[in-house]
Symmetry: C2
Amino acid sequence: MSFDRETLESVLKRRFFYAPAFDLYGGVSGLYDYGPPGCSLQANIVDIWRKHFVLEEDMLEVDTTMLTPYDVLKTSGHVDKFADWMCRDPATGEIFRADHLVEEVLESRLKGDKEARGVVTAPDSGEEKKRKKKVKEIKAIKLDDEVVAEYEMVLAKIDGYSGPELGKLMKKYTIVNPGTGGPLTDPLEFNLMFETAIGPSGNLKGYLRPETAQGQFLNFNKLLECNNTKMPFASASIGKSFRNEISPRSGLLRVREFLMAEIEHFVDPQDKRHARFGEVKDIVLRFLPKTVQQEGRTNIVEETIGSAVSAGIVDNETLGYFLARIYLFALKIGVDRTKMRFRQHMSNEMAHYAADCWDLELLTSYGWIECVGCADRSAYDLTVHSKRTGEKLVVRQALTEPIVTEQYEVELDKKKFGPRFKRDGKKIEEFLMTRTQDELEMLSAELESKLSITVAVPEMEDTVEIGQDLISVTKKTRNDFIREFTPNVIEPSFGIGRILYSLLEHNFYVRENSDARAVLAFPPVVAPTKVLLVPLSNDPKFEPLLRAVSAALRRQGISNKIDDSSATIGRRYARNDELGTPFGVTLDFQSIEDGTITLRERDSMKQVRGAVDAVIEAVKTMVSGDGITWEEGTAALTPFDSAAE
Amino acid sequence: MSFDRETLESVLKRRFFYAPAFDLYGGVSGLYDYGPPGCSLQANIVDIWRKHFVLEEDMLEVDTTMLTPYDVLKTSGHVDKFADWMCRDPATGEIFRADHLVEEVLESRLKGDKEARGVVTAPDSGEEKKRKKKVKEIKAIKLDDEVVAEYEMVLAKIDGYSGPELGKLMKKYTIVNPGTGGPLTDPLEFNLMFETAIGPSGNLKGYLRPETAQGQFLNFNKLLECNNTKMPFASASIGKSFRNEISPRSGLLRVREFLMAEIEHFVDPQDKRHARFGEVKDIVLRFLPKTVQQEGRTNIVEETIGSAVSAGIVDNETLGYFLARIYLFALKIGVDRTKMRFRQHMSNEMAHYAADCWDLELLTSYGWIECVGCADRSAYDLTVHSKRTGEKLVVRQALTEPIVTEQYEVELDKKKFGPRFKRDGKKIEEFLMTRTQDELEMLSAELESKLSITVAVPEMEDTVEIGQDLISVTKKTRNDFIREFTPNVIEPSFGIGRILYSLLEHNFYVRENSDARAVLAFPPVVAPTKVLLVPLSNDPKFEPLLRAVSAALRRQGISNKIDDSSATIGRRYARNDELGTPFGVTLDFQSIEDGTITLRERDSMKQVRGAVDAVIEAVKTMVSGDGITWEEGTAALTPFDSAAE
């Protein structure tokens, strides 16, 4: 059965998985609140994430502040580069995100062309009709064939254009305000960080963080110390980040406030092997490498991560290890394997700090969505923060064999040097001390042949002659027993909201029976509620056993809800199908007599019966996340046939 | 042994429980990062909170946005009233929080007076010396006895003064910039919310939320629906909130970004009983009621919550139930019972929305600290949001017996009324429709006697006469089968950071042995790491068993760390005493032979020995939070004497 987004959305709204925030006040676009089932689903995803990554690998979890002072984000590059391009209509004050506008206008013209050519296009889905499109109507105008080809090429590369390039496209294709036909400004850069002032003076400018990563980098020295200075190691952080989108769209997929889970794995740049790579090397992943994309294709390459690393498709073992672990995590929470791919970034689309990057993309009705980024940020962040603050952010490694280096060194006779050059002494000294090895080699030769050197120091009018009574430039041998290096960072970064939304789509189906009930088929480990408890009727006789079963489940950490309303059992199960509750327990009059209860599975609607303790034990094994199937989990219980619902 | 804050702080810093955020950049006051042990401690407190409150009572947890538009916080009163008073020095630009400045100056004068009188005062603790005091030196100047009395009275009431009152005190006592002696401005109101702009236009003003509560109130209708419209029910939310403190101080106790856990329990204003009050009524709490405080005393009253509610000290069962549950939560995570008290707010200090409020205060080296507020916010928030948006936020209760009400009602003959009064018709109608029952009774009598009424409508020059051909005012009987009411809200609100800091102080001690080791004696359920695994030496023979025990513990969800460094076992335990790890497992050569291991308890340093599975089972019962003691948990294992460490 084909996926219908409108049906899913009505379930999500009715059961309050999430809803536009502040809708009582007309709403604020790009902000969503999670209701009880959404909040619980999110908590379960985060909990599994923490076990799968943090606990499994002994990562150092930190919780750092969202408020971040200007200086930090200036250094990291976000003040200058974390921006999108927008165009303003001076007449109406409307603001458009430049790339989105170009995309939408060209797409609508292509549609109009197809209409004019009489090509049947797929009708708009309900959602598309509802979506606030900038382009309100499609005009059936035929385009030249080469224009069509040009538009299609632009659309294929739409993510890669700079602001000025978008401006040129807008001029070339006469793209104006689609509502009024009025002209727009050239694309202007708009920084996507929310700005605020910290403290009462208003002088300390700050931002809401755009990622959790910077807080982890700034604590690098303390974290290395926590790890007893051993390398490699990883830190991790789960928390909200912010992005002041120009025009948020696509529901949970593009929002202004979102939960992230980020890992910063610090690794020796000379050794990116991973100790546990062997455990994952035979896992087959679905890749979309940049070489394939460069050919304009999107064919997926299926390969083991082991051979992808050997073949150099994936750069190194650590990157490869995390891709495999990300894949296993996605499977565990219920992502559809056939709707996953790892797409490599093209060099023109990588973040300003990244050396290589693979995204886990999940296929939804909005297309392929980037849900996890796995970037090699190289030594970029640690280096820039260290340079800016003067604090070393390095690893010191004791060596048994020294590193032997030969290099030219300058020595000055300070006693004579100062009096000789007076005020210029500092300038000349700094100039000499910052020469490259090649330059020093030449100076050394000059000194040997001429017994003096002549140098042109910037900011000084005349050249300076320095005799060998004042200076020596000689080759020295150094033995270093300490190797000092700035680690590289491999960063798996998870957008929890996007994963959660994709999970909803991947697990949604409509039962193929008369009443077409909607079901969210979450794996038990991630389901908001694990067990629905229903008494056959609201006879007060059921009350004591009902409470006892509920309390016993709770003691085992199994979330459960009682529904003792007067609705039919079928209706009560239908409500919980929409909530994705995997198990139902029914209490009937026999239960009161002999303490046996019925356990029902959501998707197969199979039932078994057994004593309360045995049923709880079965549920416990099946919700543990260890992948125990219904057949395995309920092997000790008795199959049970009930009347049709 | 007396508590030494400096020793605790050096442990917290060394083990990276938390640290000033951005210290690489010189730090930003009032912002702290949690390192791995602090982050884990926080996560455990939150986890216990969720189980103790949310799961135990089937609360509806939500996750709402921090970014909040202006309109919402204008309506809630925060734009106008969420403020502190500050004074500026026009010469230097320095800013002082007015109440803190008055407090500090008067305290220093009292100290100077004591010195002048030759009274020995306790020396400043190390921390006080370090703290950035505004008043740098104490001058030994004797004060008149009545001045001393006046100062003491002002200090006792320092939390209750308004800005203008603080201004008067500053004039009266000539309080100036303590650093320069220069004059200060009158106290100005400073709003404590962080402001930002949402979206690219800059026109939508927003704030970072000061509390999670508003997000819950705005979703009231959806939450009521989630609860199948049953009352009473509670929602809950865990998340960061923000407060732009004028001058943050006291470490984690007064910060600008903090984690809150808040419950909004919605209850019928006519019935504030609680179904589970019977389960807690015999619990003895330590109260500081407002009546005691009004007499200028701070004596604690110990009483059961049952009798406190009966006696009217605590207003109602629901409030009382939550006070008892808060107490049980605090005990479970390891708060010292003797350092807890429930203090009732005086009427002049209550938040603008509160009808009654009790704080759980914990005693620390900074004094009694408000850690949990438990307020009855009445129907304030739901009412104002409903009024502002025109959306009903109410409960509709079906009645079996109707509510019968008699009331005067106005009826107009619309056909004649409009033509008769023309433009003024609307004004007159609105005036009539908004009269009170008493006024209507009088109008009814007037109409009966004079056959017309004469009314003075605001904004109209002349009085208006309306005859009985146009209007009737008569008493009518109404039968309502639906009762519609705005619920009241009981709000337990937890400051997780403050609780966490108090917990650190309450659980800190120094071993009374030769090396005076510092210990954080967390209860096992809350400890960041549960088990330290140490092999006798770093012989590779230990490796397989070590990994196996670690993996087995992890499978049971028990966090553990391996320390196979070359430090002595005693030293390795010392490190983990500082981290508060409750259990240590030692592997020796016998372990390799027969699979038995030694388990050690942190505080008593008692040891037992047994097979791996048996030891893990014992640990599992002791970390569960069910209050199983060492003696109970290890009854099946063999006592073990090791050589002295």
